[in-house]
Symmetry: C2
Subunit: 257 residues, 2 copies
DNA sequence: GGGTATTTGTCCGTATGTATT
DNA sequence: AAATACATACGGACAAATACC
C-alpha cells in the first residue's frame, strides 16, 4: 500500500517549506488552484495535504487570503528558582523571571469569586467537599502580550480569620502569600508543583490567541503551598501555551548562567 | 454567520460522548452512514465532524471497524525529588519513582554512538562545535509498557580519561553519573532541568504508539549535570508522551504525602 | 463605501480502494 | 468469499472572508 497522494503532496510541501523554497518572509503558499495544477490532483486532495500540515502547526490558513507558514517563535523561558529564603521571593517570582530581560510584566485586576470547593480543589486543600473557597483569577502579561492565566484558591475561613483583602478585587502587591503570613501568621514553608499538559479551554484559546484546531496545548501547573504544620493554604493553577513557553528548574550547585 | 453543520454535529457528538450516551464500554459510535441519516448530512460533512473530534483526542477511528471513544488514561506521575544527598540518588530516580507503586521498571540495552557535537549539544556541554561526543540512547519501560526515551551525551574525552564503559553498549547498573565519579573523580553536584513540549518524531510515534495525526505531543526534558567547577559533564534528553504523564516537583518543607 | 476579483470554507454527490470481521 | 466500515480521490456548487480598486 503506497502512501496516499495527499501525504506525498504534504511531505513535498513540508520539504519545500523547510528548505525555504516556499513561504519565505510571510509570503503565502501557492493557492489551492495552483497546487491542484502543480500536482494534478483534485482540490479535495490538496486541501487534505494542507490540513495535515496545519494540524502539525507548520502552516495556517486565512480565509480569503491563503496559506502561510507559521513563523517559529523563540520560546520564553521561565525559571523556577528554589529560593527558599522566603515565601515572598516565590510570590514575586513572576516579576523576577521577567525583569532581567528588560521586559515589562503586568497583571490584570483579579476576578474574585466565592464558591463551594469542587472535588479536586477540596481534595488538594484538604477541606470538606462543600466548604467555601475564594478564587482569585488573574491574567498576566509581558510587554502587553498574554503570558499566563492564573487562578488561586484559598479556604474561605482565611477571610473570616482576618485576610479580608482576599475577597477584594484588587491586586495584592506584596503577594497574597506574604499578606496571609502578615495578617494571620500562617507561613508558607514549602510547595509542590505539578506539571501537566492539556487542551486549552475556550477562555485560554481567546486570551492566548491560540489556533482553534486544538493543536496547541497548554501547560497546567498546579502549585500547592503548605504551612509549617503541613496544611495546604492555597492551590494555584497557572496555564501557559506550550508552543512558546519552557520551564527551567535547578537542583544543587549550578553555575550562574 | 451560524456555526457550520459539521461543527454542530461534532459538538452534539461530543455532548453525547461526555454524557455517556455514545461510546460506552468501547462500543463504537454510529457508523458514518448512520450519522449521515441521523443528521441528514453528507458523508463528507459527517467525516469533518469526526475529524474534529479526532484531532482533539476525543475519538479515534479504525479502518473497517468504526469510530471509538478514546478511553481516558489516568496519568502516570513522576516525582522529581531534589534529594541532594548524592548524585547517585538522582541516577536511580527512575527506579525510585516507580518501585513504590509495585510496578516493574526496565531499560533496554543502550544504543551507543560516537558523533561530532551538533550545535545544540556542543553549546550545552560547552565544548567546541566539532568535538566528539558519546551518545547513549535507551528505551525505558514500566510493566513492559513504553515509558520514556532517553539519550545522554558525554564528552568523548571522558572515554579517553578512563570512562571506557561509556562506549560499551551495556547498561551501567549503578548509573553512569556514579560511574564517572568513581573512575574519573568528576562529581555531579547539581543539574538543571528544562521542560519543553514538542511534536513527536517518527521514532517516538512508533515507540509510544502515538496516533499519527500528531495531536499528542511529548515532553522533552533536558537535564544538564554540572561538576564542582561548574563544568557540564553530560546532557540528558528524555521524552514522555504528554497524554499520560505528569511531573511533580517540591520545594521547601512539604508533608510526606 | 461599494463593487469585484481572489481565495479559502462548507457542502453535496459519486466511485473505488483497503482493512476488518 | 462476502459484508461492513472507513480511506482516498474525483467532480461540482455556492458561501464567506479578504484585498484592492
Amino acid at each position: 500500500m503506497p502512501d496516499p497522494i495527499w501525504l506525498l503532496i504534504a511531505e513535498d510541501l513540508q520539504l519545500k517549506i523547510e528548505s525555504g523554497e516556499l513561504g519565505r518572509d510571510g509570503k503565502p503558499l501557492p493557492t489551492e488552484l495552483e497546487l491542484q495544477e502543480a500536482y494534478r490532483a483534485s482540490r479535495h486532495t490538496v486541501r487534505e495535504a494542507i490540513k495535515w500540515l496545519a494540524t502539525r502547526g507548520l502552516v495556517y490558513t486565512r480565509s480569503g487570503q491563503g496559506t502561510f507558514v507559521r513563523p517559529r517563535v523563540d520560546p520564553f523561558i521561565t525559571r523556577f528558582v528554589p529560593s527558599l529564603e522566603s515565601a515572598q521571593a516565590e510570590s514575586a517570582a513572576f516579576g523576577v523571571a521577567v525583569r532581567d530581560r528588560s521586559r515589562m510584566p503586568s497583571v490584570s485586576p483579579p476576578r474574585v469569586e466565592v464558591q463551594r470547593a469542587a472535588g479536586r480543589y477540596a481534595r488538594e486543600l484538604r477541606i470538606a467537599d462543600d466548604e467555601a473557597v475564594v478564587s482569585r483569577h488573574q491574567q498576566r502579561l509581558i510587554d502587553d502580550l498574554p503570558y499566563s492565566l492564573q487562578t488561586t484558591f484559598y479556604p474561605m475561613t482565611f477571610v473570616e480569620r482576618g485576610a479580608g483583602r482576599l475577597i477584594r478585587a484588587e491586586d495584592i502587591a506584596e503577594g497574597a502569600v506574604s499578606y496571609i503570613e502578615d495578617v494571620m501568621g500562617v507561613k508558607q514553608v514549602g510547595w509542590t508543583d505539578r506539571f501537566a499538559v492539556r487542551l486549552p479551554d475556550a477562555n485560554e484559546v481567546a486570551f492566548f490567541s491560540l489556533p482553534d484546531d486544538g493543536h496547541v496545548a497548554v501547560f497546567e501547573i498546579t502549585r500547592i503551598g503548605f504551612d509549617e504544620s503541613g496544611v495546604p493554604l492555597r492551590v494555584t493553577i497557572t496555564t501557559y501555551p506550550t508552543d512558546r513557553n519552557q520551564f527551567v528548574m535547578q537542583f544543587g550547585q549550578v553555575p550562574a548562567d
